[in-house]
């Protein structure tokens, strides 16, 4: 999935997607709807990984695609549509988190993540496994500085290439690589503390 880690998957938008983006840029609504179908799952997963609430993530995903539809004319390079979409999503998540923090100051709380699994199955194993996974990954990510955390997430949870991450974060590729290197080094040395069993040495 990640290849050699150098972002070779940045060509995910090649071929059909680019022609769809070009058609959408020309005002073709069905093409944009097709792009939604292609990217909705990835954007939802990306948003959910940061918010841990299905209902909130669905709201944000709706907002992301609406914003993309309205601002499509500002997209200069059709081949970077996916990275551009993730950039919008990152901004929307940040806005939502700020609002959530503000609401929590006044005693309003969001839905608990547990409610996202109303039917955990007879033994509740899936439910438990999901809770444990997100708990471990979030504990590890919390130990990273913000930019390393975001680069690590975009690369290994959201499966973006280096170039796409650079576009999504508005940074240059060298900066992204530096932060990715540091985050990976921490994953190697401290990941086991968070139950992620990284390799220790070659």
């Amino acid at each position: 999935m990640h290849g050699d880690g150098t972002g070779k998957n940045q060509g995910d938008d090649a071929g059909g997607s680019i022609s769809l983006v070009n058609a959408a840029l020309g005002g073709d609504r069905p093409s944009f709807e097709r792009l939604i179908t292609i990217h909705q799952e990835g954007i939802f997963r990306m948003v959910y990984a940061r918010m841990q609430s299905r209902a909130d993530a669905e709201d944000v995903v709706q907002d992301v695609f609406l914003s993309a539809y309205r601002n499509l004319a500002s997209l200069r390079e059709p081949e970077l549509f996916k990275a551009w979409l993730y950039r919008i999503a990152l901004n929307r998540v940040r806005d939502f988190m700020r609002k959530r923090k503000l609401m929590s100051l006044f005693g309003f709380t969001s839905k608990e993540a547990d409610e996202d699994y109303p039917d955990p199955g007879p033994d509740g194993f899936d439910h438990l496994a999901a809770r444990r996974f997100w708990s471990r990954i979030n504990d590890f990510l919390s130990s990273l500085p913000p930019l390393q955390r975001e680069v690590f997430r975009l690369r290994f949870i959201d499966d973006l290439g280096i170039h796409e991450i650079a576009v999504a974060l508005g940074r240059n590729e060298s900066t992204v690589k530096t932060h990715l290197y540091r985050a990976l080094d921490k994953f190697r040395t401290e990941g086991s503390q968070y139950g992620m069993s990284p390799q220790e040495e070659s």
């Binding site: 990640h2 880690g5 939604i36 539809y69 996974f133 990954i137 949870i157 190697r188 990284p198 220790e200």
Partner: protein, 177 residues
């Protein structure tokens, strides 16, 4: 790197190769491609990280909501008229605002000052009217009559009275009866 053990890439170099294999020197790249131990170490790291994305996908709930775009507005043939009339209304409103602002600049005191000016104008008109009324009280006839009617309070000359009541030779008034 002549010794095979020493030539193994250390963990930092394995990570560096994972971030960007162009960051490795040609010798390191050559070693990595030919050393089963280093390749295996790199693959282990890759599989662990790949596993993260797979687990994240597996433990993300399904989204039930379909993204909905705003409904397309049907083309309205009268839309340009609406736009035109809206433009005119906006222009009129702008002119009204500019006029109000200019009035405000001419009369920094605001509406109160305008009222005072109107009051002063009415006072002047009232004074003019009263002057005309007083003039009519003193002389109600038009000016043309002034030539045949003596001025009010003016004295009639003796010649006129002599014409009306001629005197006799003694200077007494003639008896009409």
């Amino acid at each position: 790197m002549s010794n095979e053990n020493k030539s193994h890439l250390d963990p930092e170099r394995i990570i560096a190769s994972f971030v960007d294999d162009r960051g490795l020197s040609p010798q390191e790249r050559e070693h990595l491609s030919g050393c089963p131990a280093c390749t295996a170490a790199r693959e282990r790291l890759a599989s662990q990280l790949t596993g993260l994305a797979e687990q994240a996908g597996r433990h993300t709930p399904e989204s039930f909501r379909r993204v909905v775009l705003p409904a397309e507005q049907p083309a309205n043939p009268l839309a340009w008229i609406m736009r035109w009339s809206m433009g005119v209304a906006a222009a009129a409103a702008t002119v009204a605002i500019v006029a109000a602002l200019m009035l405000g600049r001419l009369f920094p005191g605001g509406v109160g000052e305008i009222d005072q000016l109107k009051l002063a104008q009415e006072t002047v008109r009232d004074a003019t009217l009263l002057a005309e009324v007083r003039a009519l009280e003193n002389d109600p006839l038009p000016g043309a009559y002034a030539e045949i009617i003596p001025e009010p309070g003016g004295s009639l000359d003796d010649e006129f009275f002599d014409f009306l009541i001629p005197l006799d030779a003694d200077g007494d008034e003639t008896q009409r009866t």
